[in-house]
Assembly symmetry: C2
Homo-oligomer: 324 residues x 2
Amino acid sequence: MAHAPNTLNLVADIGGTNTRVALARGKMLLPETVTKYKNTAHSSLQDVLKKFIQEQGGVDTSAACIAIAGPVRNGQASMTNLDWEIDLETLADASKAENTAILNDLQAQGHALGHLPPESETQIIHGTSIEKETTRMMVGLGTGFNIAPVFETPNGRFIPPSESGHISLPINTEMDRKLSAHFDAQFGFPTIEHALSGNGLENLYNFHCCGVEGAAHKNAATIVADCEAGIDPAATRAVRHFVQILGSVCGDLALVQLPFSGIYLVGGVSRAIAPHLSEFGFLDAFRAKGRFEDFMNSFSVAAISDDFAALTGCAAYLESSAHA
Amino acid sequence: MAHAPNTLNLVADIGGTNTRVALARGKMLLPETVTKYKNTAHSSLQDVLKKFIQEQGGVDTSAACIAIAGPVRNGQASMTNLDWEIDLETLADASKAENTAILNDLQAQGHALGHLPPESETQIIHGTSIEKETTRMMVGLGTGFNIAPVFETPNGRFIPPSESGHISLPINTEMDRKLSAHFDAQFGFPTIEHALSGNGLENLYNFHCCGVEGAAHKNAATIVADCEAGIDPAATRAVRHFVQILGSVCGDLALVQLPFSGIYLVGGVSRAIAPHLSEFGFLDAFRAKGRFEDFMNSFSVAAISDDFAALTGCAAYLESSAHA
């Protein structure tokens, strides 16, 4: 056996395409153990975990925690486009670990805060708030949109779930009013996620192409690339509009959650958009809250680039619950 | 001395007009001690508390907690229209109590949940969620608008602060779009509180009077009364619009906070509006969240009528922190 029994924990991050699995000693990921598996090549969570355990010399882990890009309720998780059974019983059966936990991936990334390498964090706005250990807020921009507030309570970190991607899209400008009518016709109810996600950027691009002869559908990566190359005015308009809606939404949710210790953007779409936030007016949109404009200066905003943050978060969560 | 020393706690609720003060034994308010003082007749918090303590025979309390209709940060509170110094030091000095706490009044009312007389709660929507001890959400409708999520963590109840009244007003209908333009011209940035508060109802009434010859300004109580009497169509339109915006806002904030154990409406305006929620379409507006329409059936909504809920909450908070 390559590892001594019951000294390590198993952590996993199940995304839309890949599942990443690793071993952790306390809060520390063992980087040499991080392994990526294509979901389509496996029939179940058991299948993936058993393969990983075998590859690690039949490791006997003490606890196991997985992060899921989807809602988790009562120890059960569900993901669109993946029919794996994901619940505590399946996890315990596959991992043979004594303690198990399932977290939403944004909650997991929230548990990673404070345990990530400093270079994985890029500051976008320096807020004036000097409270260093109060509330933070994760904002996840990827296949979907969601947030997770990260509360530091007298008894430790607490990160409740949320479905914030499905609330009303904020309408602030004449352009937003047109977008709202456009989404209304297309989706019935215009939500944040209709604009702020991979698909959302594509929706915005289609909207900004309206009336342009011969405009073709483009995927999110191409829209960002064409904006950066300066070769498609509709792509530039779409990215600018995305950034301004993101500023407004982050500002609204900051007033709801009061993250005086900072807002953290995570996820694939956030990594692609982060370099364009300042050029396209993120800060102005974030601060445009009427008489609360000055108050908005309290909040810091940073982007997190660590691809393994959810794994680190799972490790930190197991460690903190073991000591609770 | 009328009360034995160090057996009772002092609790107070400082509202915009009156301050209520009472004694509590553990979580139980002593109803015969509840006393109401007009703020304008007193120059400071010390002034009010010293008078109360004297009236109670010079009671020597063990702990003191006050609830404030305003933001609380780092043990300091501030209220519009009241220049009293309200901080932990002043409270300790005035009460001579060993332990002190200051809560926002919505947070205090959240701590009262589970300790109020059953008759103070009127069910408005029966949700399908069967989770009885998860998250609840307080929605306060009075001079202002705010929410407080009430989380049940493994280590006890946790109620973070919020400034949710100042986020973007949701825009769902053609009428909302007109209202948004109207508020935009008047206030610069249309927020929830511009519609959902005492002043908010007056703003809505003015909007629905547009173009009506000789329309006079009416206060919130008159608008509700005239709607109930059926003598002013603009008042009826204003109350209906208020109820529909409230439904939409409660639905959005429910998706953010996931209160599977219920939503609780509190505050003076909520007590006045609660009887009209079903007649004016609260439920439809609450559920109108596109593909999340079915999911919205999870949530229960109730109105709380207890005028002393914040006092009970202060007592419960002191009791729970004494045992933490």
